[in-house]
Symmetry: C4
Subunit: 195 residues, 4 copies
Amino acid sequence: METNRLEAFSDGVIAIIITIMVLELKVPHGPDLAALAPLLPVFLSYVLSFVYVGIYWNNHHHMFQLAETVNGAVLWANLHLLFWLSLLPFSTGWMGENHFERWPTVLYGANLMFCAIAFFVLQTSIIRHDGADGLLARTVAGDFKGKVSPLFYAAGIACAWFFAAWTGLAFFVLAALLWLVPDRRMERAAQTPQG
Amino acid sequence: METNRLEAFSDGVIAIIITIMVLELKVPHGPDLAALAPLLPVFLSYVLSFVYVGIYWNNHHHMFQLAETVNGAVLWANLHLLFWLSLLPFSTGWMGENHFERWPTVLYGANLMFCAIAFFVLQTSIIRHDGADGLLARTVAGDFKGKVSPLFYAAGIACAWFFAAWTGLAFFVLAALLWLVPDRRMERAAQTPQG
Amino acid sequence: METNRLEAFSDGVIAIIITIMVLELKVPHGPDLAALAPLLPVFLSYVLSFVYVGIYWNNHHHMFQLAETVNGAVLWANLHLLFWLSLLPFSTGWMGENHFERWPTVLYGANLMFCAIAFFVLQTSIIRHDGADGLLARTVAGDFKGKVSPLFYAAGIACAWFFAAWTGLAFFVLAALLWLVPDRRMERAAQTPQG
Amino acid sequence: METNRLEAFSDGVIAIIITIMVLELKVPHGPDLAALAPLLPVFLSYVLSFVYVGIYWNNHHHMFQLAETVNGAVLWANLHLLFWLSLLPFSTGWMGENHFERWPTVLYGANLMFCAIAFFVLQTSIIRHDGADGLLARTVAGDFKGKVSPLFYAAGIACAWFFAAWTGLAFFVLAALLWLVPDRRMERAAQTPQG
């Protein structure tokens, strides 16, 4: 099986996820600027999740450029990733509406963690199908960010749980920034030990 | 007519169906973990329907890889399938919000049954267009799961109606698991009698 | 400009229109079958609009198979069609929630009429771009249904306005059935006078 | 990286944005024509935003026809544009529900401005990747509308803020009309000084 229809379907699902999150930004009734103030945490959590879904789309795009064909296991691993991504509008909404309180922030971090695990499972299923000599297998060996970000989510969940929600949130923002920083220098650094 | 635009349109509709179901998971107002508890049945019914829509996308994908061209009848048979799939967010929501009571569970099973019938009609319309020697016709001959799952839905509807809703639900979960189990061994077993 | 991106974008918009209409089918709170009864008119209007959007997707698909390239005017004529289609979820919802009363039925008919006009404008803009010798121009000459259905909408609007809503609705259902009937015989009949 | 998947994903997101805006047109409860009257400003703001999203899709389509490949920076610049576009349903809804009062109109103008800036950033990132000799770089040199429309948004924001909301709105409508006018004559005029 070729990858194009899997990519088109995933594009569709991710496009909807990234867009329906904005529906949590309920239109306020008053025409004053003050009516926007209570929406600020909802807006900020929307920005964070938009960036995360964008990161996943980016990584999904890169990964499937390196995959040549797919099998049934890859299709299901992909649906598994889409499942956890599809919960982001819910966990984002809960966190935003409750102004970044403890449990919503922990749940948000858990959602990010499950997305990361699902992405790893998908990657592994492609490599198992393509063989250890495939393009993806060789690229993943030097994948610094993919290995580090789950640690950020775990640290963030622990901090939100036992200290304060904003410390956990800081880890989730940092992990997102890590992905936004241009790749080149960081990837070279990560690849040197293996070279 | 080639199949790509039919596939792209179906991907779009299925992607939206699988994603808007999550909108039934209404964001709770309180920030406590206890606020999530009433959502559990809604969440579980979402998981079940996500798996079912995923199964249909998978099967749709496999089927149209074997179809070479389509005609007007196939276009309408495809829209007919999409119609029944589009009702899944409704029947899922009704079942989840009413904690798997009798009638919502029966309706959910009926919806699954209509989807299965519509899939069968679509398959038949492709085979009629492609001819009995087409790739799809030969593959379908050994299609064990497609023949067995309607029996599961019928049994589930009857059990939910006359016994208890959870017994019906068990059949719907079993039928979903049947599709998730990797194909090879089961399909070989199913094909042996014909070989 | 080639037609593929215009087709992909239109597929996306039409897929969303056909799917979000189902959101008007609000999940009832009670678990009894009686709770579904008030939804019947909403459901029936959903079925009718699903069929209409399906018809438009079908016709759009056929039309762009005959168009080779597009220009800016075609892009805007296409967006104009998508605009009127995008209002169908609203007019469908108003008609369904008010149990097919007079004004909602008139508005629904007007919406269908504007869609038909927009489709005609789009067709004309493609023919103007492709030239009167293009494939589409020659096919349209014998297009019986496209010429007859606006008369049905006009008659339906008048009947709903001055007599009873259900008489108008009957015309809208008839016009939809006209498109669902397999093409061959009818089209041959329509083409004979010109042949 | 080729541009097709970026285009497909953007098509999906833009298709959803243009369609979910119609969800702000809440179905009224009464069956009288009078029940539609309060929806008029919501409808008019929907029309305006539909046209704007259509303009962005059109320009996005034209721009990526001139781009040959993309890099990571272009992917993120594209997501950045989609982010501001995704806020249009919110700012449109706020403006429509409050009957074009001052602050909602200012916010709407600011949203348009951010979209224009994001489009410019995306254009620049493609040109930086393709080189100053690329097709896009040469076309952009004579891009009259792209340079003028931010001035309209700025003027509109200032007018809505200090005078009356409708004067600001007039600028936003004018800027939209500017894009709808067929290109040829205007573009030739704009290109002559450089020729």
